[in-house]
């Protein structure tokens, strides 16, 4: 197996995803299949190859930057309009620090 149940639970923790036990087992099997297929990458000789992070990397460095001029951002009410719990101009969340 490429990935253990403990690793699946660890990765779910990193990703902030609550999974049911059934999901953990299903994803372990799925990820195992997929990671086995991904072992194909090891067969390829990439010595001396630069990693490609983006497509248009040969464009001039500043070719796609806009002028450095401030533009108005979203207003506070608009930015909060989709918040599940707005309050006092902020996003409210469950208490983080106990008094």
């Amino acid at each position: 197996m490429k990935i253990t149940e403990a690793e699946v639970r660890y990765v779910a923790g990193l990703a902030n995803l609550k999974l049911t036990d059934a999901e953990v087992h299903k994803f372990q099997a799925d990820l195992n299949d997929i990671l086995e297929h991904m072992a194909k990458l090891d067969e390829i000789d990439t010595s001396g190859i630069e990693p490609m992070a983006q497509v248009l990397s040969d464009a001039e460095e500043t070719a796609t930057l806009r002028a450095d001029v401030a533009t108005p951002p979203l207003t506070n009410p608009l930015a909060l309009a989709n918040a599940p719990q707005p309050g006092g101009g902020y996003f409210k969340v469950p208490k983080v620090i106990e008094r």
Partner: protein
């Protein structure tokens, strides 16, 4: 009005000839959608007020004798991962069921500025992750050509709407084939432009180094016209390219004689025999038009699925981190602490495919695996891009299948994610290389299922791609 055969040109003639007003056309189009949409579930939501207001503006322009825009009065559908101010945009996710965007995507702004009438938002796989549209939280879309089959994905709603006639053209998004594959399955034209050609401002991010916005339509000419409107530099998207945008429609002159085409041998191995026969027949048509076809090799193709699903899921795991219950409408009701709120919101909100990809992407980026997967995949991506660059020293365009097979049955592949991923093999390479590519209808199987042929060209050479596709389409119609 015969909506399934309506084109941009026909709408223009009708408006300028005072055959109908934009408001009349829009009202009739909205009624047509109400009747036809239940057959496919292509639209998730209509925006009648916005549509009629846009139409009224076109009518006023005509009444005042002003010049109308190139898309004036044209009924358009927009994939529900592309933001529309004030019109709920769900991304096919339960998480965003009530999300009302505070701004419009640049592509939508440009469509409306050109006079287009946005009728509504189309169904898609959740956050554009899927090849069948079965990953939508709001139910699958049915293929208009065969209601027991998928329309393809992730832009399945946009492709089905165009095929059904409930939109003349539509916007989709493509990260690994999400415009071309549904276009192929539904028998319409689908265009993935060069990476950076169209602004992604207002496109909900899936995998930022691979995401594209592009048009779907029933004719090559219509998609060329829409791309001309939405393409070009946008200060709001620093990845949009500052390259001149030609008038693609004036280049559709049928002049393809002597064009050098490459047929990659790696793309012909795993086709079903019917799809293979249709592509072979399409290639014969291109030869008759005077194109010189030669076999070429893209040797890194075999590793493309592995490369793509490392990079795309890694980027997705970062991009989807923002859906944490703080800002975007949905928050789990059962959380006392902040960390539980994050975990429960995401666990309850995301569907199975999004979770699977977040897990995979988080895994390949996690400590100890980064070099083996992410860095390695970036290097393989460079090799795939180099394959194309080398080929384009010998040929002007590459011709290939879009998918190994035509539309499959609903439910047929949902339980085998790897099989679903492997079906993307012919489309993901174009996204990895960032080159323009499109699907153009290439006939139907004996069972009546559409098959698309793919055309790929050099960076920013959409002109050659459209010219070839248009010549092919015209000879098919003749």
């Amino acid at each position: 009005m015969d909506f399934p055969s309506l084109t941009i040109e026909r709408v223009r003639k009708g408006l300028l000839g005072r055959e109908f007003s934009a408001r009349e056309l829009t009202a009739e189009a909205l009624r047509f959608v109400e009747v036809e949409n239940p057959k496919t579930n292509a639209y998730l939501r209509l925006a009648p007020e916005r549509a009629l207001a846009a139409a009224a503006h076109v009518d006023e322009q005509i009444a005042r004798g002003e010049e109308i825009g190139p898309l004036a009065g044209v009924p358009v559908a927009v994939k529900d991962v592309i933001l529309t101010k004030g019109v709920i945009t769900t991304c096919g996710s339960k998480l965003l069921e009530r999300y009302v965007p505070p701004y419009d995507a640049t592509a939508v702004v440009r469509l409306e500025r050109a006079g287009a009438v946005v009728l509504g938002k189309t169904n898609c796989d959740e956050f554009a992750m899927g090849s069948s549209n079965e990953n939508s939280a709001f139910g699958p879309v049915r293929n208009p050509a065969a209601p027991d089959r998928v329309p393809g994905g992730s832009s399945g709603g946009s492709a089905a709407a165009v095929a059904q006639g409930t939109a003349v053209v539509a916007l989709g998004s493509d990260t690994g084939g999400s415009i071309r594959q549904p276009a192929s399955f539904c028998g319409v034209v689908g265009v993935t432009p060069t990476y950076g050609r169209v602004s992604r401002y207002g496109l909900t991010a899936f995998a930022s180094s691979l995401d594209h916005v592009g048009p779907l339509g029933r004719t090559v000419r219509d998609t060329a016209r829409v791309l001309g409107v939405i393409a070009g530099r946008d200060p709001a998207d620093s990845t949009s390219a500052d390259a001149p945008v030609p008038d693609y429609t004036t280049e559709l002159d049928g002049q393809v004689k002597g064009l050098k085409l490459g047929l990659p041998r790696e793309y012909l191995k795993d086709l079903t025999s019917e799809s293979g026969d249709l592509i072979a027949r399409g290639v014969e048509v291109l030869k008759k038009l005077g194109c010189q076809v030669r076999e070429i090799s893209l040797p890194s193709t075999d590793s493309a699925v592995a490369c793509y699903y490392v990079l795309a899921t890694a980027e997705a795991s970062s991009n989807l981190a923002r859906y944490d219950g703080v800002r975007y409408t949905f928050r789990s009701a059962s959380s006392d602490t902040l960390s539980d709120m994050y975990r429960n919101t995401r666990g309850e909100g995301f569907g199975a495919e999004c979770k699977r990809r977040i897990m995979l992407g988080t895994y390949v980026l996690s400590a100890g695996y980064y070099d083996a997967y992410y860095l390695k995949a970036q290097k393989v991506r460079a090799l795939i891009a180099r394959d194309f660059a080398k080929s384009f020293q010998q040929v002007d365009a590459i011709v290939a299948p879009v998918s190994p097979y035509p539309a499959f049955k609903l439910g047929e592949k949902v339980n085998d994610p790897l099989a679903m991923y492997l079906s993307d093999i012919y489309t993901i390479t174009g996204d990895l290389a960032g080159i323009p590519c499109m699907s153009v209808p290439c006939g139907k199987t004996a069972g009546g299922l559409p098959v698309g042929m793919q055309i790929l060209t050099r960076h920013f050479d959409e002109t050659t791609m459209f010219r070839l596709a248009d010549a092919f389409e015209n000879s098919e119609a003749a």
